[in-house]
């Protein structure tokens, strides 16, 4: 067993990527994720790999396009406004079906916003962000260890489906230090060889072409249909979530992800002492969304579900689609970098439970 080390979330992302075989990292400074680039600047040359600082986020994501096209494992990272700039490139990467990992250490928006923890890029990450009918797997870790594990998983999933994968955290996760273990892991996935990569003919007669341009509508539609089939496959196979305190019947179920889910767990413990039973669905993949978690717990829920977020309710739509009218859906959120306290969550839930009684 590898030994545990105390590491800052952002630096752990870098180390996890190196463990996962990331050959190239393309970065650009933006708070609160700059430590990822600084870590990679120091570490990548030590292991004989590539670190490059681009002149902008637009350049960095297009460097990713180039390296991914050459068939190597590649990662970039940024924070909200920088991800907006990368969105064009992400759409191209999805269109050209190239595997890569993109890290978003989210800060409050819109516009320049702030630098404190937020979850206001939920729509951007899960509903497109860039143009066109594309999807990207989005992981939302809630601890530094899970962050490390999911970065490694993200590279595998990206390679398996030839698709961009996003790791979405916030400044809290990026800046906090926790003990982590870099496990020696063997993937159980059957990862295809990258025979599509544009990395030389290698004895083949036909050039590989990496492309997202289809001028004939029939061809573009066929391409889109093919992508949709892939996304359906991902939805079938890659959903991840955690159920907490849902072994028995509960009054209400919180739906929350990332660092905020940890705060919700504290609130659940506090409510337990007051005789209010609360469960938690913690989506680990934000896309594909864990709809089946709701089916699993539906019979155990007395009052309904409450989506608790660090934004103005971007996940509520997905919660409602998953609940599909079977129970009421409530919402509590803080935004702009305000992080709810467990007491705040306790009060909100008591308000709902009290009102329903």
């Amino acid at each position: 067993m590898a030994k545990k080390v105390l590491m800052k979330g952002n630096e752990a992302i870098g180390e996890a990527a190196i463990h996962a075989g990331c050959q190239c990292f393309f970065g650009y400074p933006i708070t609160p994720q700059t430590e990822i680039a600084a870590y990679m600047a120091r570490r990548m040359p030590q292991v004989g790999r590539v670190f490059l600082q681009a002149e902008s986020e637009v350049a960095a994501i297009n460097m990713v396009y180039g390296a991914a096209g050459a068939g190597v494992r590649v990662m970039t990272s940024s924070s909200s406004p920088g991800i907006s700039l990368k969105s064009e490139g992400i759409s191209y990467i999805a269109g050209a079906e190239l595997p890569c990992v993109i890290v978003n250490i989210v800060r409050g928006g819109p516009g320049l916003g702030g630098i404190q923890p937020a979850q206001s890029d939920y729509f951007q990450a899960t509903k497109g962000g860039g143009h066109g009918d594309y999807r990207m797997v989005v992981y939302a870790p809630s601890s530094v260890q899970e962050l490390v594990d999911l970065v490694q998983e993200a590279f595998d999933v990206a390679d398996q489906y030839r698709n961009p994968v996003m790791i979405m955290g916030d400044g809290m996760l990026g800046q906090m230090m926790e003990p982590v273990e870099f496990k020696e892991r063997q993937t159980t996935r059957n990862l295809p060889e990258k025979t599509w990569a544009a990395n030389g003919l290698r004895g083949r007669k036909i050039h590989n072409v990496i492309n997202s341009l289809y001028l004939k509508p029939e061809e573009l539609e066929a391409h889109n249909k093919k992508l949709q089939q892939k996304y359906a496959e991902i939805e079938k196979n890659e959903v991840k979530y955690e159920l907490y305190n849902l072994e028995n019947e509960v009054d209400i179920v919180i739906v929350s992800y990332g660092t905020l889910a940890r705060i919700c767990k504290n609130a659940i413990k506090m409510l337990e002492k007051e005789g209010i039973k609360v469960g938690l669905i913690r989506p680990i993949t934000l896309w594909p969304y864990p709809k089946k978690a709701f089916d699993e717990v539906m019979d155990k829920v007395k009052l309904g579900f409450i989506s608790i977020e660090m934004n103005e309710g971007q996940m509520v739509e997905d919660v409602k689609l998953s609940v599909n009218g079977r129970k009421p859906v409530f919402f509590y959120g803080r935004s702009g970098g305000m992080v709810p306290t467990p007491a705040e969550i306790v009060n909100k839930i008591k308000e709902i439970v009290g009102g329903a009684k």
């Binding site: 708070t31 700059t34 680039a37 600084a38 600047a41 002149e55 986020e57 320049l112």
Partner: protein, 314 residues
């Protein structure tokens, strides 16, 4: 130019209370440039993301006495282009009167790197504006990352100096020359006001000249950052002086394509003088890195000789 007594009576347009670090060069540069405006002139200022922007506008507070706007990192020049175009339209229709000057401030990250496209666009379109780059040689706001303005060999968090790498491995981009290639009416390179030097008011004089000329203007100001340069705040202007005296940062201007060097040191100091004054170059002074210092000296000489040639001095 007015005398010191008159200057001291001019409006202060960037007031105190902002959160720039002690000893930061940027607000000094901004205030001296804005001092070159007549008191009855109103400034319209756009500011790229960076230390200057984030530390002077902690909403709902502001240190700016003039109209001031910030947009995304890469867009200071585009934003001021829009404001200037709107002003022209309003003036043409008789909706606005009075004297206005349009100014953009950006650091080297926001100007040399991510903002170069919008800067080039604004200059080519020919807006009546002055773009000022306060070049402190790295992304200081996010904690000292290399930019294309970072000097060769500097230790930054994304060009760390270690056993194998000597810090940044590229020479700095010559943005002033890129601006000259836009054939602007006025391009200048300068330093903050350094008392007791023959070029004490170089910054002020150049700003005054820039404001007197219609069309697109560009000024590049070497601006000390004690945090990023790893220097004592009390010595920062001495360090900047060394940049001039070693010809690392020549003071010159290009008016309608005609070069003029504003200061030629009687005896050019060796580049080691500039390097050894700063912690970010500390590792270069080790004996095993002598060849790197040599390389830097050669590049400084090459660029200086070229400038002398362009200015017809040689």
């Amino acid at each position: 130019m007015p005398n010191l007594k008159e200057l001291s009576k001019k409006k202060v347009r960037l007031t105190g209370g902002h959160r720039m670090c002690a000893g930061c060069g940027a607000p000094m540069v901004v205030n001296w440039i804005l001092k070159a405006l007549d008191d009855d002139v109103r400034a319209v200022i756009s500011n790229a993301t960076g230390c200057l922007e984030v530390s002077t506008c902690l909403y709902p507070y502001t240190s700016w006495k003039d109209s001031w706007i910030h947009t995304a990192f890469e867009n200071a020049a585009a934003t001021i282009s829009g404001a200037e175009a709107a002003f022209k339209a309003m003036k043409r229709k008789g909706h606005i009167d009075g004297k206005y000057k349009f100014i953009a401030f950006g650091g080297d990250g926001g100007t040399y790197d991510i903002g170069l496209q919008s800067l080039s666009g604004a200059m080519e379109r020919g807006h009546d504006m002055l773009y000022v780059c306060y070049d402190n040689g790295a992304y200081m706001n996010t904690g000292i990352q290399r930019s294309s303005a970072t000097p060769y060999g500097a230790d930054t968090t994304t060009s760390p100096a270690g056993k194998v790498k000597p810090g940044k491995e590229q020479f700095r981009k010559d943005l002033t020359e890129i601006m000259v290639a836009h054939h602007l009416p006025y391009v200048a390179q300068t330093v903050p006001v350094i008392p007791g030097t023959p070029y004490m008011f170089d910054l002020y004089n150049k700003a005054e000249k820039a404001f007197s000329i219609e069309g697109p203007k560009f000024m590049n100001v070497l601006t000390p950052c004690p945090r990023g340069w790893r220097i004592d705040t009390a010595t920062e202007l001495e360090v900047v002086k060394l940049a001039v005296e070693t010809c690392f940062w020549p003071l010159y201007e290009v008016e309608n394509g005609v070069y003029k060097i504003n200061y030629i040191p009687k005896e050019k100091k060796p580049i080691t003088e500039w390097l050894k004054a700063q912690g970010r170059f500390k590792h270069l002074l080790k004996p095993e890195n002598e060849h790197i210092v040599q390389k830097i000296q050669e590049e400084v000489d090459r660029r200086w000789e070229r400038l002398l040639y362009l200015a017809g001095v040689k």
